[in-house]
Amino acid sequence: MASELKVPTMAEFYASGTVPEVLFWVGCAGSFDDRAKKITKAFVKILNKAKVSFAVLGTEESCTGDPAKRAGNEFLFQMQAVTNIEVLNAYEIKKIVTACPHCFNTIKNEYPGLGGNYEVVHHTQFLKDLLSEGRISMEGGTFKGKRITFHDPCYLGRANGVYEAPRDLIRKLDAELVEMKSCKQRGLCCGAGGAQMFKEPEKGDKDVNIERTEQALETKPEIIAAGCPFCNTMMTDGVKNKEKEDDVAVMDIAEMIAAAEDL
């Protein structure tokens, strides 16, 4: 039903001698993880609809190095960073948007010290700007009146102080935003950060994502909104573990907006 995605690459822009408004940094999860790819596509649909001139790096993109750095491998991180910065600087990139808070944090905060200076925004901030500039319109539609709780990604919230952009978007969907007992500055991690996504957890009583899912379910939500592909996976697993997947959906905010606009 939906028309084909238009995903131009930086190389194509370069060949035609033009510059896009913004670079969409897709990230590894957004490129390869089946669940996260849906978020990527939803975001691109919105960009297409809003006629945003954007590009991706495609096969020239590589891991930012975030999981290596958090795992203690500073060497691998800097190798990745320097390589990416070379590509980004060669294309004279000025502004980057990404749907992954880990990529967001690393490029925004840790690349400048290695020679990569860009304006970096999270996709919820970007969408909010599109909305306030009137480039997209949003009607609640299917989300009207739904109980939605937002799980703060650590690397968006605490790490960078972005709490309101995702919440503003949920409110714009005419949904009922309900907060978990620990949210914003005191939001509980989903358990994936610090390279935990890629390893088994240490011995304990419980997995972190189960604890967080319990907090989310306490708010009796119809949807758990997320703004990070890793949080999304962790919360989805948590909801399945609690056998609530038929009642509670875990959705990225971009997916919600795309669905509301019937994209």
Partner: protein
């Protein structure tokens, strides 16, 4: 003989302050065993943080009950110490209530000290109950056994005793003023201690003087003792909270520092003109060790953090790993760092100022890899700390040592890093397939 009390007082004061100065210099020496960290930037913001967070207690009130009680004890402590100035001057010059010349101002001061003293007693009793009757969970983690538990209670006992002595001294003084005893001219207002006056009724002037003098001497001796107790106690935070908030992190919490030693190597590797077989220059320094395995590898700010920690456990109670039963406790990271630093300091003292290898280090002997690998780097501990301590930075430095010096990452993480190295993603997907999603329906 007339001047005997003055002489004894001056000796007591010298000994008390002398020991304190010695402790402070030991503290400084130990903190500066840490590596250099240049934090001279952004002075305005730093002073502002200190004023807000340390002086203004802005982060204490995130937990309203503990925050309100803490502010009472803190304000009481700071303001009642104005009275200590008078006590010291009286002691040196053999006067009695020297500041009484201030008249109504003096009445107001003494009156408010008394009210504060009572409030402090109430707060201290509630604090004690939280630790010993209600048994708040965060005070009963494994790292809180033994000295840390006793230390927490000891501080409350000392504060209670000091406040009771202060009120006793005033109560006896008030009674003596009522009786018109020599040297006890009417001065000060005693809204609290006068309420206990009936208890002292019928006592002779001589007994009242004995009571007043005993309370006076014990009070000042107690304060000097408390001053010297600080170095051995979590209570050191009353001093170090100020420099610690001043030197607290100003960059976004998610921004971890980029290691310069690694940057240098990466630059060399990427430099097409670099000769990979070149002999190191004659004057080449040994490259920095990557990460931290012992306290000397940490920066002096991280060591200052360790001495500043007051073991309140807000970090640990917010930690997702700790909440789900993992061994990691950010508070324990700070306590271990301080304990090891003390051990290194004592080693240096015992060996004429040189550290003698003792076969121990912070890693493994204090902090285990299991604790370090349980961290999600979520910054909840950093956010929770009311005085800007950063346990996460120590965890990350120690992970760097495990990975870059010892290649001791968990197997899963080695796989993840191998994937990034080979195909630019943490999973085994080919970089050439990175755009395939755009063609999938």
């Amino acid at each position: 003989m007339q001047y005997l009390p003055n002489v004894i007082f001056i000796i007591l004061l010298f000994v008390g302050i002398g020991f304190f100065v010695k402790n402070v210099s030991r503290l400084k020496r130990n903190i500066f065993l840490g590596k250099e960290a240049s934090l001279i930037d952004n002075k305005t913001q730093r002073w502002k943080n200190m004023a807000m967070i340390a002086l203004g207690q802005s982060k204490m009130v995130v937990r309203p009950i503990a925050g309100a009680l803490h502010i009472i004890v803190y304000v009481g402590f700071v303001i009642i110490n104005i009275e200590v100035l008078e006590i010291i001057l009286d002691g040196i010059f053999g006067t009695h209530r020297m500041f009484a010349v201030l008249g109504p101002v003096y009445d107001f001061l003494i009156g408010s000290f008394e009210v504060l003293a009572l409030l402090v007693i109430v707060a201290v009793v509630i604090f004690w109950a939280r630790r010993n009757v209600i048994k708040l969970k965060r005070f009963f983690k494994p790292e809180m056994k033994g000295w840390p538990k006793n230390d927490g209670n000891m501080i409350l006992y000392i504060e209670l005793v000091l406040m009771v002595l202060f009120l006793t001294m005033n109560g006896a003084d008030y009674q003596l003023q009522q009786l018109g005893a020599d040297h006890y001219a009417a001065a000060g207002a005693f809204p609290i201690s006068s309420m206990f006056a009936p208890m002292l009724e019928g006592m002779s002037i001589a007994s009242l003087v004995l009571l007043e003098r005993s309370a006076w001497w014990l009070h000042i001796a107690g304060i000097l003792f408390f001053l010297n107790y600080l170095y051995y106690s979590k209570h050191l935070h009353i001093l170090l909270a100020f420099p610690n908030t001043y030197y607290g992190k100003l960059t976004p919490k998610g921004q971890f520092k980029n290691l310069q030693s690694v940057t240098d190597e990466v630059k060399m590797m990427m430099d097409p003109d670099a000769d990979p077989y070149a002999e190191p220059a004659e004057d080449a320094t040994v490259p920095d060790k990557f990460g931290a395995s012992d306290v000397q590898d940490l920066s002096w700010v991280q060591l200052l953090n360790a001495y500043t920690c007051t073991e309140c456990g807000r970090c640990t109670s917010e930690c997702p790993a700790n909440q789900t039963g993992k061994k990691l406790s950010p508070r324990k990271i700070m306590m271990d760092t301080r304990d090891r630093l003390e051990e290194v300091g004592k080693n240096i003292d015992a060996n004429n100022g040189e550290f003698k290898e003792d076969g121990k280090q912070l890693l493994n002997d204090y902090i285990t890899p299991e604790e370090l690998w349980a961290c999600t780097s979520c910054n909840a501990c950093v956010e929770a700390c009311p005085i800007s301590i950063d346990p996460l930075s120590i965890i990350m430095d120690m992970r760097q040592y495990l990975v870059m010096e010892q290649s001791a990452a968990p197997t899963d993480l080695n796989n993840m890093m191998g994937n990034i190295e080979n195909n630019g993603a943490p999973w085994p997907f080919n970089q050439m397939d990175r755009l395939n999603w755009s063609k999938e329906s």
